[in-house]
Amino acid sequence: MQSRRLLLLFSALSLWSAAPGAAPGPAAAEDLRAAWQKVALNLFADAHREFLALPGDEARLGVALTRLQLQPRTTANLEASVADLRALASAKDPDLAPIALYHLARIEHAHRLRSDPPAALAAYAELRRSFPGHPLADEALVRMAMIEVYEPAPPEHQAATLARYAALAPELASADARRDLHLLLADAALRLTRDESAALAHYLAAEQAGIQLAAIRTTVLVSIGELAARLGRPELARRAFDDYLAFAPRDNRRTLVLERLAALPPAASPAASLVHAP
């Protein structure tokens, strides 16, 4: 009985301390940093405990997000996080509300046992309407494209969807989002509509936006070279293959790429690097 009372008291204190509107002091900022650092290190349970002990909306966001990763994953935990995120989204804090909205969309898109694409699309759209220009609003467009592009649909509808999102790419302020959207559209153009010209343009745009992961960059450079060669653009193919050979000295596609290079018509002038190409 005694322990139950203590538990109730502790829970009430935790809820009070995590209530929205409680502003974090300077000491809390350091605690928040430490807790987010734990999240970055995949230590979700530890971070969750630390967020629970901290006051303020940001700690509540931390509680909501880390709860999604607690084991075992339960519907109750997921719904509790949804409730917290809805409260944070409606509080309209310009720092936290877009993050809350983005994660509400992600829950519908990727966290539930069965994803709910229409609900996810609606949440992403709300984020883009409410916080235009925010990096997460740009990311939301990439996720919307992912849902719509890979929705089961007739080929002509797929081609139109691909074209619609391709037209939106230049509007993205975030280079990361531009890169991700172009990579998504390039692969989809090849898989769904076999449109090699569109795919090549998207791969080039992604490379210009800045690909960070070595494995992806290697693959994109090979793809650009291969597509350019097929589409009769030997100079571009040569530049891409040369960049690939310089970038990936231990890749098992080198022999194939060297063969492709040898089969290209002779170069008129030395090839410039693709990255610095106009």
């Binding site: 970055a40 929705e151 692969d187 800045g210 291969e226 098992n252 080198r254 194939l256």
Partner: protein
Amino acid sequence: MNRQTISAWFGASLLLGCFVYALVGVFGREREARAEHVRTITFAHWQLESGIREALDALARDYEALHPDVRVRQIAIPERIYPQWVRTQLVGGTASDIIQLGIGMDDEIAARYFLPLSKEVEHPNPYNAGTELGAAAWRDTFLDGMNGGWGYRPNLLDYYGVPLSMFTTRVYYNRTLWRRILGDTPEPRDYEAFREICQRVLAHAARHSTPILPIAGSRANAPMLVDKLFHSQTQRLYQRINLLPHLRPGGADIGLGLLRGEWSLRDPAYIDALDLMREVGGFLQPGFQSLGREDATFYFIQGRALMIATGSWDSPSFRAQAPFEIGVFEVPAPSREHPRFGRNTLGPLSEAEVGTGLSFGITRLSPHPELAIDFLRFVTSRAGNARFSEISGWLPSVIGVEPSPEIAPFLPIADGYVNGFDINLNFVGPDSHRLIQASQFDLIGPAGGVDRFVSTLERELPALLRSDLERIVRDSRHNLARQDVIGAAYLLLPRFSPAESRAELEDRRSRVLEGQVQQESYSAWLRHELLRLAAVPPRAAHSE
């Protein structure tokens, strides 16, 4: 005192002696660990092969000589119980400072119990000072840039394991037996020559009524030979399956390609690969699929088989145990000129992407993580790794370490072409893999055949492929959800950080997003195709 009493007393004394010896050892270590000026780090691994413990021990003693206030202890655990042992130690909070990563571990375990080393690997290894690697980031001093095996974990976007070696597979042969049966016949350079050698061994065995096998096989060793041969036959087919132009499709693409009708189980290349496998299966001992690695080793070491296919890790043990001289050659795949099998092959198989192995991670609960990192820097310095390679007889993992003549034949072959896929489809998933494993007797057994095997697969494989691909989609959701939360941390952390570390945090977020979107869009594509294929009759799938 009669003989029985003496023997009882002797037994009891021996037991007591052992107990006291163990007690002194344990208390001695405890006392040493408690001594204020001595810090002890322990490392655990499962490599009981000849020479490995000796090499690691030598490095530990070298490190102690350099750091007199440090003791390094090695714990070698048999491979069979290693996964259980590691889990128990990790969960119980009693794990060693450094643990070999690999069997029985996954990304969840790495993230939960091991320190990410991304910061450390970006700085030079101080033990390389004065060498040409002195200014290089630690990760760039490894032959694979720490991208293989347990080095970089793409799902976690962090480095966890520091590798000491790398592994390739080769065919070992008994030189004495070779000379007796084959005279001065050279090592085979292609499949035809290899096949002829195997047939000559069978003929010799029949002629002399000697139970000598061409190749010692087991469920562990046979795949090291037949998979490579199979790869050679599926090289062109693999390229054909790919919808993207990057010249290297992923494992799931093979399964999806089969469901989509991009290729079939009656494809000439696949049939050739099965024929090749059945032919080679006839050169191994009957029932090899039910034998273990040790059985095949006994066959070879006892001179009952001329050859065995296995990894470079067995080289020191074989050289120590075999009473004969050992030769080594590459698995001889069919060349492009082969009258039948040449049509399916692109050319020699590349080993350019053979990653490093024997990777060690540092546990989060280590009381001396800095010391553990320093020890790993020491053993993977150019000098440390050279000493490891020299004593162990294993391949080095560090750039510029000269291998000994014994280990040189195992160096990865950098030239060559992208491999095909193997028969097991284990990159697609466990359900398909199990069916193929269970049906292999239908292919290789005396009453079996290619047609019988293919018929079984045609009947049962599509449903299992579907369930495996659905599993890939399902499993990727856990990963994507985890990356969402990490992405939020990297979005918020820069606000608390000094300007100089903000760029690094933003860079990490950028990489989280890039990896996540690639993984998620591939998963969305698989889901799209599974839904589409479920809605159309199988024969129409390809035309959609």
